[in-house]
Amino acid sequence: MAEAGHSQAPVSSLKHHFDDMEQQQAASTLGMWVFLATEVLFFGGALTVYAVYRLVYPAAFSAASNHLDVRIGAVNTVVLIGSSLTMAIAVWSARRNGPRSTRMLVGSLAMTALLGSVFLAIKATEYSAKLAAGLFPGPAFRFPGAHARPAELFYSLYFVLTGLHALHLAIGIGVVAVVAARAARGRYDLEYHGPVEITGLYWHFVDVVWIFLFPLLYLVGRGG
């Protein structure tokens, strides 16, 4: 605790129960990794369901997948990968001192949040098109051809998986916005930028989830 004085960071950045900034940073990074492990198992539950039904109903899942718009999915993939790039730039500039890197930090965080919002906006139009086409599972579900029931399973999983992903992304946008606002007030520097780092970890994770969802839902078995 006495070591807090050695650090150049404002004393308020060091919580009372840590000995030094290094310990605090290591703890929050490990905490985020453990949380991401939890998230892997969370999505893993639903992906297991997907894997089982894909094996049981391969033809129906291909037919259902054909009704998704692969161009929209691809555009969204590019948007999200772009947001990971801006997030990486944010983390890079957070590790540097000086007004120029602070401007860069704030700018790249704002860009990240913006790209995340673009993804959600595109996703919303995609959802409304699916609803209009009667592809939302439940009593109103309509699917041409012989595979109506397994196709409904496909769309149940589609909405659960992409919905949870969108929820994670929305939370991420909120967190990035808060971090950006704090960065604009000069809260982060070389010594103390843990929140930027762990927000980055979270953001990249949400991105990676989509990197799995896009091929599983839009591409596998397409045209079959």
Binding site: Q23, E39, L41, G45, G138, S156
Partner: protein, 533 residues
């Protein structure tokens, strides 16, 4: 830094409800899990009342279904899973490793609020008609046919799961990053090893039940057909996902209890633990193996015979690390100077009852025998021996052992020993007859039974009333002791462990200066044991 006790300052309800002190959060949890324990017990009372007579007279089948469901839901999700980690673990993990708090104190407080929110939603569901699916929420009954408040209860349990995840996450990071200088992994008390293993299971298992319940809720509320066989879904898949968490959950309940027992046995035998590394790694082994045995709940659900054989063999395997622990505790007693104080009585109770519970678990992992006793009272007796005979015994033993540290007061030893004895007798009278009932073929979850089974059922109900009295006595005297109990010194048991180097009760910051650890965790054999009367 003030040396005033964490209980004394700061004052006021607000300071308690907004505290980030791990010790105060432990007290908040102690109050809430105790409330739910007595709520769950009330349902058990109603169940045992109904089963006094063979005819289904006191309640009808529908009500009875709600009673055992809510007994299970409340006891498992709101008492047994959180009890030891959130009360004793919260209080002791930082103290045992020489830290001022958990790594994320605000997250710790948040986890209590999340628990309260989830518990309140489930309470709301209980008041509004309850739920009748059994705590297992099997589909398609839960998603399609049940008349109960499945969605509300599911949401309540879903939310409470995050409290569990946050606690586990906090413990893992704390144990990795907050240990005092010199405190290597093999110098950690076994309580810490057990909580580390438990936290791994909480963090990796709970998200799966969260997703599963979410799918059930979505299916019931939005009309999706994920587990509905009428629409191409697979109800067995639900069982796989459910038990992938819920079998590890059994170890989430019992592993922290084992950690408590390791501390009690050494402290009251005045001997170092026998085979420290074996006991430590047995915790990790149980956590790992515990994830690969879920299929033994589904021997008669229609999974393939090969899956059944593999799950059977793996289930036998879990017995190995569990047995290592029991053998090592027993070997620790050998030539120790054993004192029969209350915590030790509970530890003895645990070792005996857990052994019975564990051995009958082997009966159930045997494929052929399981077909005979599946879904009978044999299973009910088996898991109550683990959960009540194991977890609750250890919880009470630990609560008594650390009570002087938590409250700064000593409890009345005579009453405490008496109630430990009452609980032991009441427990066995309640649950041993259920092994016989199950073997004779009485199925679980029915409110009526053939008249020839009445004698054993009356014994069980009589035992339950004794058990209930046994649980009420500590409630009274522990409260009493906070005001009237004698004040105690820092280390009333002459026990080893960093928590005993602090005043009783400890100051908010735990340690005035960070301790430096220079020796192994159990130091009983190296120094003259001081038995304090």
């Amino acid at each position: 830094m003030s040396a005033e006790s964490y209980l004394a300052s700061p004052r006021g309800v607000r300071s308690w409800l907004l505290t980030t002190d791990h010790k105060r959060i432990a007290i908040l949890y102690l109050v809430s899990v105790t409330l739910f324990f007595f709520l769950g017990s009330a349902f058990a009372v109603a169940i045992r009342l109904e089963l006094l007579t063979p005819a289904g007279d006191a309640v009808q089948a529908d009500t009875y279904g709600r009673l055992f469901t809510m007994h299970g839901v409340v006891m498992i999700f709101f008492f047994l899973i959180p009890a030891i980690p959130t009360v004793l673990g919260n209080f002791l993990v930082p103290m045992m490793i020489g830290a001022r708090d958990l790594a994320f104190p605000r997250l710790n407080l948040l986890s209590w609020y999340v628990y309260v929110l989830g518990a309140s939603i489930s309470l709301w569901a209980i008041v509004h008609g309850g739920v009748d699916t059994g705590w297992t929420f099997y589909t398609p009954f839960s998603t399609t046919y049940s008349n109960g408040a499945v969605v509300t209860t599911g949401i309540g349990v879903f939310i409470t799961g995050f409290s569990s995840i946050l606690t586990g996450l906090n413990f893992i990071v704390t144990i990795h990053r907050m240990r005092a200088p010199g405190l290597g992994w093999y110098r950690l008390p076994l309580f810490i090893w057990a909580h580390y293993a438990t936290s791994l299971m909480m963090v990796l298992g709970t998200p799966v039940i969260a997703m599963t319940l979410l799918l059930v809720v979505a299916e019931r509320a939005l009309g999706l057909g994920i587990f509905d066989p009428a629409r191409g879904g697979d109800p067995i898949l639900f069982q796989h996902l459910f038990w992938f968490y819920s079998h590890p959950a059994v170890y989430i309940m019992v592993l922290p209890a084992m950690g408590v027992i390791s501390e009690l046995v050494t402290a009251f035998a005045k001997k170092n633990i026998f085979g420290y590394r074996f006991v430590a790694w047995a915790s990790i082994a149980i956590a790992v193996l515990g994830f690969f045995v879920w299929g033994h709940h589904m021997f008669v659900s229609g999974q393939s015979a090969y899956a059944g054989m593999v799950f059977s063999a793996l289930s036998f395997l879990v017995a190995v690390p569990s047995a290592i622990k029991v053998f090592n505790w027993t070997a620790t007693l050998y030539r120790g100077s054993v004192s029969f104080r209350t915590p030790m009585l509970y530890a003895f109770g645990f070792i005996g009852l857990f052994t019975i519970g564990g051995l009958t678990g082997l009966f159930l992992s045997a494929l052929g025998l399981d077909v005979h006793v599946h879904d009978t009272y044999f299973v009910v007796a088996h898991f109550h021996y683990i959960m009540v005979g194991g977890t609750i015994m250890a919880f009470l033993g630990g609560l008594h052992y650390w009570w002087p540290k938590i409250s700064g007061s000593s409890y009345p030893e005579g009453w405490a020993r008496f109630s430990a004895l009452v609980i032991f007798v009441g427990f066995n009278l309640t649950f041993f007859p259920q092994f016989l009932l199950g073997y004779l073929g009485m199925p679980r979850r029915y409110h009526a039974y053939p008249p020839e089974l009445q004698v054993l059922n009356v014994m069980s109900s009589a035992g339950a009333s004794i058990l209930g009295v046994g649980y009420l006595i500590p409630m009274v005297y522990l409260f009493w002791s906070m005001r009237y109990g004698a004040r105690v010194a820092a280390n009333p048991w002459g026990a080893s462990g960093l928590e005993w180097t602090t005043p009783s009760p400890p100051p908010t910051c735990n340690f005035e200066t960070t301790p430096v650890v220079t020796q192994d965790p159990y130091t009983y054999s190296s120094e003259e044991a001081q038995v304090v009367g």
